[in-house]
Each structure stands twice: as structure tokens, then as C-alpha cells.
Assembly symmetry: C2
Homo-oligomer: 232 residues x 2
Amino acid sequence: MKKDKIESVESQEFDIFKNITKEHYNMVIKSGSRENLKPRSILFHQGDSAKYCYLVEKGHLKLTKLTEQGREVIIRYINSGELTAAMAVLNDKDYPVTAESIEKTEVVGWDKPTILSIMKKNSDIAIKLLSIVFERLDEVQNRYMELCTEKVEQRVARTLARLIKTSGLKTVHGICLDIPLSRQNIADYTGTTVFTASRILSEWEKIGWIKSEREKITIVKPHALINFVKDF
Amino acid sequence: MKKDKIESVESQEFDIFKNITKEHYNMVIKSGSRENLKPRSILFHQGDSAKYCYLVEKGHLKLTKLTEQGREVIIRYINSGELTAAMAVLNDKDYPVTAESIEKTEVVGWDKPTILSIMKKNSDIAIKLLSIVFERLDEVQNRYMELCTEKVEQRVARTLARLIKTSGLKTVHGICLDIPLSRQNIADYTGTTVFTASRILSEWEKIGWIKSEREKITIVKPHALINFVKDF
DNA sequence: CGCTCTATTGATAAACCTCAAATACAGTGG
DNA sequence: CCACTGTATTTGAGGTTTATCAATAGAGCG
């Protein structure tokens, strides 16, 4: 059963285990500690000393940083099948971010010695992890650039476009974002305020690009949004 | 002689070669192609297909992204002893950034097969590289957060503080930044405009925190700057 | 129903960008 | 050495974007 669940996880990152042997695979799974998280519970806090590295099996995590003034910035969403917290474990540092479940979420965690020993024995795995981290670096760098050069409206459009890719579900009414997503979340993810985010989305709802309920957004005209991103 | 030059490079990233054997070391060095760059010459362009990964032996590189509107954003400076472009080589992608020397700069480049085979044989090296990339990711995430939440003046102060750490030289008059650094550079690195950057630095010069000439900045009162960063 | 969290909207002000123009500086060739 | 050219820097005026603050309405939950 556990096996089924694991194997059902589909993602590039889960591939990290594809090329290791059955023995290693079992070692990974056996050494892992499982956790079931209710919505909005904290998996680890920014600043905590890091012991575990996690694979999300179900649900989503939100990675945030809190500024000294108490403003929350969303660094990234972690979808099911993706890894997180490898940084802190490998570099022997505190977690640089807080991880919070945004819905019912199941994770497996491995401790530092396990992860390290597996990577030492299988350079393929280390290399695979490297390539995952590079992709994440690339993504943050792109968002950094956009934040430097684009206006809020553009960035909100990009944020939605990104979420479509990672959490978009096709429905009859358009593409529905399959995670609870408040205006505040969008603001924290885009680098703006709730108010500005709300104004922009209200506007888009008025012209029929999106439909929204509380913490729920459906993109009715994805192409309009994408064009808007490209046109600027 | 070449050996001397290599061994003179001091940095965490150069450590990446510390724990490989003499044979591997020579293999790395032999397979490497050397390049001497004049100031302001391009090592590789954003979008070019990536063949080499580089170690900077002398000088500095500036990594930038160009937006579609032609605005340049500085992603990072690469100091001597540091690696760059490993991302593109490993992930088999085009370079995501442009690398330009900002002064006379010497680099060694290795091609993909070399790098890959070394990492496959030495998982330690892959792991070491991982930890380097994690640190870079952490840095960009921090700057991302700052860009989201702080005002320009704060960010300029942080930028100078960062540059002090990586390129600061103690002199009688204060800490001198040992790289050519225009107002435009500071703007591109901080996410603002030349004009705003210039105004802020003029102000700081007026109150005696810094001294500046064309493309040269000396921080006269580093503690004032650091306090300013922390106080906000 | 009352409580809490989310969303909306308007008014106001601050921060910052844009554009224009002047000045300073370094390097080049005569 | 000087004039010339191209780049870097500064400064001002004006306008736009966006944050801030305040107030209200709606949604979900016990």
C-alpha cells in the first residue's frame, strides 16, 4: 500500500529514485518518517535547525520567509512529487524558509545521514538533485528579474501563468487552480499588497478573464492572460 | 607555473577540487581551456547553447539577464575562485544569463563530458557542487525577499554591504570596493534606476558615509551603513 | 447568530520612474 | 597640450504607480 502510494507520485523529482536499486529504494523508504499534515500546519520553521529533508507525496507546501517587520514572502510552492529542505540538510544550516501545508498533505522525511550516504554511494542521485536545484535557481532568478523590471499587473499575470502550469486543472469553465489561493497569497507571491492584488483581479474578473470565489481562482481566458504577459 | 596560479586561488568553491586525486586534478586542468578576457568582454551570451562550465581564476564576471525591453538585470557577480555556468552544462540547456568580464579576467573552462565524468566518479564533488548551488539559491532568495519588501534605499545599502563582503578592501580612508562599479551597475543590481541610485549615493556622500569617483566607491563609515540596513 | 478570516473599494500620500538637460571625466588622435 | 568624443554622473520637474489607511461587505464555521 505504501508502495502504491509512492509509485503513484509522478514528477521529475521523484525520478531521483528511479535509477537506484531495489535495496536502496527500500532503505530510503524504510528510513523515512512519514507525516500527515492538516491544512495550514507547519512542517518546519525558518530558523529551526534542520534535520529532515522531505518528499511531498500528497498535497502542497508553501515555502515562505518572514521579514523582520513580519511581512511574509512566498518563495515557492512545493507540489506533490517534489522535494524540499535538501538545502538545510546538506549545508548543515537552519531552515532558511518556513514550510506550511496549504491543504491536507503527506510527506516523507529522511534525515541527514541517510540522504548523505545515499548520495555518496550513488553519484547519479547527487547529480540528479543538482539538476533539480539548478532549475529552482533558474526559476527564482527569473522571478527576480521580473520583480526588478515589471509592473505589478504583469507580475500577477505571470504568477497566475506559473500556477496554471503547476496546479492548473482543466474544467468546462476554464483552468481552475487546484490550490487554496487567497488574494494575500497572490500578493505575497508577487511582491505587492493585498489591495493591489485584489484590484487587479477584480478588474480581470470584470472583463471576464477570470472567475473567482473565496481562495479559489479559475482562469476563463488563459490565452488572454498569456498574451498579456507577452505583450508588455 | 600554471599550477602555481591555480593553487593561489583561494575560495570555498575552489575546494571543490581539494578532495580529488592528483590524477583527477591533472585531468581537470589538462582538459580545461583557458581564456584571457579583456575588460568588458563577453564570455558567453544568454541563450547561447552551453558547452563550457567555468572557474574564474582572476578578475570578476558579471552575470546579467536582459529583458525583452533591453533592460539589464544583474543576477550576480562571480569572483575569482568561483564557478559559473555549471547549470547550463548539467541541465543541457542554453545559458540563462550573460557573463561579462568587468576587468581583466582569466578563466578555465571544462566541457560537459569532462565535468560529468568527474562527478560521476566522485560523488564528493557532486555533493560539494550541490552545496555551492544551494548557497547561491539562498542568496537569490534573500535578495528576492528584500526586493519584495524593502524600499530602494535599504536595498542599495544591502547591495553595498554585500559587495563589501565579496570585494571589499580595507584602506586608510575606509573600505574600498575593488571592482569597477557604476551607478548603472548598482541600479541594475538593486532593481532601481540610475537616477534613483545616483540620488541616494549623492546623499550618502554628502553625509560622509561614502566617497566616490567615477565607477569607484569607498565606504567611509561601514558601520553607519550596516546600522542603516538593520534599523529599518 | 456572532466570530473570524477574506475580499473589496475609495481616498490619500509616498516612493519612485521618466524625461530632459547640464556637467564631469577619461581616453584618443591630432 | 588641446579639442573632441563617448561615457558617467548629477539634478530638477512632473507624472505614474503603488502602498497605506480606513471602512465595509461577504463567507464560512462553530
